[in-house]
Amino acid sequence: MQKKKIQVWDLPIRLFHWLLVLTITLSYISIEIGGAWIDWHARLGGFALGLIVFRILWGFAGNKQARFSQFMPTPARLLQYFKGEWQGIGHSPLGGLAVLALLGLILLIVLTGLFANDDVTLTGPLFPLVQQSVSDWMTGVHAIAFNGLLAVIALHLLAIAFYWVVKKNNLIHPMLTGKKEIAILSESALIHEEKAKPINFIISIAIALLVVWLIFGNVFVDLLSPEPAAKPPASQHQW
């Protein structure tokens, strides 16, 4: 049986994954400490927004294993997987389900965070567009969704441990190097790698940056909010 090293995870996917791990960790630390660290929570939220927007675009325009169509956990695929008949490179149908759950929850956390407030001084960049009660509600969802995310991350780590210990399949290494050794049963099983064009990557990054800038650069808020009242001239008796 012939073995061949192939690329499973492209560089954008790997960077996305590890930057997201870092971002989530630091966001959690910064909000827990609070005080002077709190500004970082907002900045990291902006970074997470950029990452998620990029990942969604890359799910349509990226390399083969990055595409949603490739790992969309349809009932037929899931059935196939549970019967043990699924074969493929990249996310399994069950793994695909986990990816969608993770991305969905993170997207929800990022979107609610845009409107949230911490009851001290931190407010999301879109906070001025909603009423306090709406913001409070969003803050609640933000926190609940984070607990949900922790649960899915725990499952994700358990699955990796299961693969490692029981199935003797190290999933971490390919996520670092991108490469995976697979057994080639026949020539026809050779993968025709579909490479995304560099322009796809550039456009995805550009759109992600644009979205972050529109929201975090206060472009949206300035467009939608009334002009702030001009400051009255300084006088001896201000009130």
């Binding site: 005080g35 002077a36 001084t121």
Partner: protein, 155 residues
């Protein structure tokens, strides 16, 4: 003689009770108003620190003094027994834990008071770098109490 002892007893009782704060709903109202006022002043400082071009030493000092004055006004009197339940301007978010862990409650309350007074001193320097650092400490003391004793969601 009986009348006198009654008078003395009631005087002693009055002395032992909380400083004037009124019925539960008034205490909650004063409390909510005080923290809302503190919040307004905190946000004024925050916005000036975020946009250095709007930074005004006088405004920051005024806001810092307002926070310190509110902190020094004896807010503890507004935390009478039973005030974890009830409505002021809106339903209170004070957790019953506040009364179950009086030592911890006292600690966060004193910490806020200290930070508010320290901050007012640092505000006098007019140095945005020092002010920002101290402001972080101040808001941290707000958060410490919220985390332990304030309901996350409005009830």
């Amino acid at each position: 003689m009986k009348k006198l002892s009654l008078l003395l007893t009631s005087l002693a009782l009055l002395n032992a009770s909380y400083a004037y704060a009124g019925p539960i709903e008034d205490q909650i109202k004063y409390r909510q108003s005080a923290y809302s006022f503190i919040g307004w002043n905190t946000n004024k400082i925050k916005s000036q620190l975020d946009k250095p071009e709007t930074f005004s030493k006088e405004d920051v000092i005024a806001a810092a003094n307002a926070i310190a004055a509110a902190a020094n006004s004896g807010l503890g009197a507004l935390y009478g027994p039973g005030t974890d339940q009830g409505e002021g301007w809106h339903k209170t978010r004070l957790k019953p834990e506040f009364f179950q862990k009086p030592e911890e409650a006292k600690k966060v309350a004193i910490a806020f008071n200290l930070e508010a007074n320290e901050f007012a001193k640092v505000a006098e320097t007019g140095d945005p770098v020092q002010i920002k650092a101290k402001f972080g400490k101040l808001t941290q003391s707000c958060k410490a109490c919220h985390d332990s004793f304030r309901e996350k969601d409005p009830k």
